[in-house]
């Protein structure tokens, strides 16, 4: 059975809006929908540039449209996703707002698809608390009259210049069999590599193929790797508290050249080695988690290296070799 690791990636974008989209967003907080003049046209949502000529459009040429408009085309969303604007079935529609030359994409809330048709008249249902975001309009609803959902907290106090956009995508990644094999071996305190049958280079970390010869590597190519090595390079990371970062103090990631091989294990954690004492040439040995400990699949190290939790000073004297620092591959 294939195992899966599920992870969600959040992209917490903060976008600056500029003179035109900023004015559009500020208008939304005032329950006004703005377009921009481009020749004879009124483009909604507004653009900074004429789409035909590329000429700059004048932000002073912004005009109010709607608030009501006509549905030009629509589709029904029977099972909304978590990120869709409404939690119950709704329509996405192109709506030509009164006075606009182009249709606006937005949600239309009619409860059921048979209540909607091309040519239907709709008006915005405003959010009571508006921040300058297309979602300040919860949806369009049938009729000519706009409405406000809940108590109206009024327009923004200052022009809106920034916008948050938190995109999130969830992935289910299958764990390749080679990784499971390496993880199981790590329970017995073994570090498994794989030797390419063509060039005889040895790869670590469950790569599953030789990038030089472009051939796949199977179980028959497995070899045991030594448990001692030398630090060839390192970085000290001062954690920035972005979403998902669990470290709070500066920490080291080191590259370890395993004894008697050409194998470099990159980005390894260290154990009982203060960041101030990490240096090129330092001798280290593998540190292992107890065999019965659960290993976190999703962690940067857990997937590939299993019970190998990092590298601990071996107490041997440093290796003095000026070329060591170049060994990162």
């Amino acid at each position: 059975m294939t195992r899966f690791v599920e992870n969600s990636i959040v992209f917490p974008y903060k976008r600056s809006l500029g003179p035109v989209i900023g004015a559009f967003m500020t208008g939304l907080t005032e329950q006004r929908i703005l377009g921009i003049r481009s020749g004879d046209q009124v483009i909604v949502p507004p653009l900074e540039w004429d789409p035909q000529t590329g000429a700059e459009l004048d932000p002073d040429g912004m005009v109010e449209v709607g608030p009501a408009g006509t549905v030009e085309s629509w589709t029904w969303v029977p099972a909304p996703s978590e990120q869709h604007p409404l939690g119950h079935p709704f329509a996405f529609a192109f709506i030509r707002l009164d006075g606009a030359s182009t249709p606006l994409l937005h949600a239309v809330d009619t409860g059921a698809p048979d209540a909607l048709r091309v040519g239907a008249r709709v008006a915005p249902r405003w959010r009571g608390s508006r921040v300058g975001h297309i979602g300040d309009i919860i949806a369009f609803v049938p009729g000519e009259q706009p409405e406000v959902d809940g108590p109206d907290s009024g327009p923004a106090e200052a022009p809106v210049t920034m916008m948050d956009y938190n995109a999130s995508i969830t992935y289910r990644n299958p764990v390749p069999p080679v990784l499971d094999r390496l993880r199981e071996a790590s329970r017995d305190q073994r570090i498994i590599g794989q030797r390419c049958p063509v060039c005889e280079r040895v790869y670590s970390g469950g790569r599953g193929y030789c990038p030089i010869d472009a051939v796949e590597l199977g179980e028959e190519q497995d070899v045991d790797l030594p448990h001692t090595g030398t630090i060839t390079n390192f970085t000290i990371v001062t954690p920035v508290q972005y979403p998902g970062q669990t470290e709070t103090e500066p920490f080291a990631r080191v590259f370890v050249l395993l004894d008697g091989t050409d194998v470099i294990l990159p980005y390894q954690p260290v154990v009982e080695l203060p960041v101030g004492e990490v240096r090129v040439g330092k001798r280290v040995a593998a540190a292992w988690a107890p065999p019965n400990d659960d290993i976190d699949d999703a962690g940067a190290m857990g997937g590939a290296y299993g019970h190998l939790i990092g590298w601990i000073p071996s107490g041997e004297p440093d290796v003095e070799d000026p070329d060591l620092v170049n060994r990162i591959f």
């Binding site: 653009l47 085309s73 629509w74 589709t75 182009t102 995508i169």
Partner: protein
């Protein structure tokens, strides 16, 4: 653009699956690249340029395309490039590189494993980030809106959509790389539920993991290694505005421009492979490309039956080239698309005789 140097497709390979659970991207690409190179008759180390097309959002990691290069063999160092586009655009860049005289041959590959995430939501991220992406219309939501616009302005009905789906599903029965295929009648299909008004599930390309690779070569090299090379007679790409409201969604102006510039109708077309991920897109593109009624469109079953994202457009070129190389067709057109509602379009005209 018309060519300064004659360039031909000399090798093509592909592989697909509904969900390729046990293999990562590199393991999916490796055999495909190897097969395309073997078929080309060129040695890997003699190919002058390597370029791929893929999308990092599919795997959810930065620079995932770099690991894809492991499948192509990049040591000793090779001249290499990448486009965050369907690999048909990678082929365009490779074709330009050969035009400059910089290189004489190229390996192009594309790959995608959309089963890892939610493809239809991921494509939302390529829409306008201020007023569109924030509402999260999925790729299917936007396509359904386009289908509604098209049907109401063309006077066609969902029977026309069903006819496209039925022919695609039947053709797919002869394609080992199709992930869906079926012998079904139009009436039977019209009895199935409309899932994204006006579209049914058979009008929507299936989620497909896969990869494809093509080898192209110039002039004498192509003639030396290939008995009947598929010569690229014209290749062009164009883009429409991102603002969905600025376009008449019932048409694909950038596809029409690209087709005209590529010289699609400078001669008779035997076969067309079209990157239509929705039934109505095929109808819009037939018009944009100016295809006659008798043209054999998507004999492979097309993207409605096999859609290895980021390679689907390259597969279109490969499918047409394959039919030319084995003598089944004399002249054909391949089309690739990217972006919501056919925003970006590439057209490639291929021919057998020199």
């Amino acid at each position: 653009m018309r060519s300064l140097r004659d360039v031909a497709v000399v090798g093509f390979a592909q592989d697909t699956a509904v969900k390729d659970r046990d293999r990562n991207e590199v393991e999916i690409i490796s055999p495909v690249v190897r097969e395309a190179v073997e078929r080309s008759g060129l040695k890997r180390r003699d190919i002058g340029f390597t370029i791929s097309g893929s999308c990092d959002y599919l795997a959810g990691g930065p620079f995932t395309f770099v690991s894809g290069l492991d499948a192509a063999g990049a040591w000793p160092p090779v001249k290499e490039s990448h486009v965050e586009m369907d690999a048909a655009w990678a082929l365009y860049e490779a074709w330009v590189a050969i035009q400059t005289g910089d290189v004489d041959s190229a390996l192009i590959y594309g790959f995608g494993k959309p089963s890892l995430g939610d493809l239809h939501e991921i494509w939302t991220l390529q829409t306008d980030p201020y007023t569109v992406a924030t509402l999260w219309p999925s790729m299917v939501d936007l396509a359904a809106l386009q289908a509604d616009v098209y049907l109401s302005s063309s006077g066609r009905s969902d029977r026309d959509l069903a006819e496209v789906a039925v022919r695609s599903l039947r053709n797919a029965q002869r394609n080992p790389y199709a992930v869906v295929s079926e012998d079904v009648s139009v009436d039977e299909l019209l009895g199935r539920p409309v899932t994204h008004r006006p579209l049914r599930d058979t009008d929507i390309a299936p989620i497909t993991d896969g990869a494809a690779a093509i080898v192209i070569a110039a002039d004498d090299i192509a003639k030396r290694v290939c008995e009947r090379p598929a010569w690229i007679r014209g290749i062009e790409h164009r883009v429409d505005p991102q603002h969905l409201g600025l376009r008449d969604l019932a048409t694909a102006p950038s596809a029409a421009q690209a087709a005209e510039r590529a010289g699609v109708n400078d001669g008779a077309i035997d076969v067309a492979e079209i990157h239509a991920q929705f039934s109505h897109e095929e109808l819009i593109l037939r018009e944009a490309l100016g295809l006659a009624d008798g043209v054999d469109v998507n004999p492979s079953g097309g993207p409605l039956t096999s859609n290895p994202v980021m390679a689907t457009g390259l597969v279109r070129i490969g499918e047409v080239a394959g039919r030319i190389m084995d003598g089944r067709a004399g002249r054909g057109v391949a089309h690739a698309a990217q972006g919501p509602c056919l925003q970006q379009n590439l057209v490639c005209v291929l021919e057998g005789s020199n």
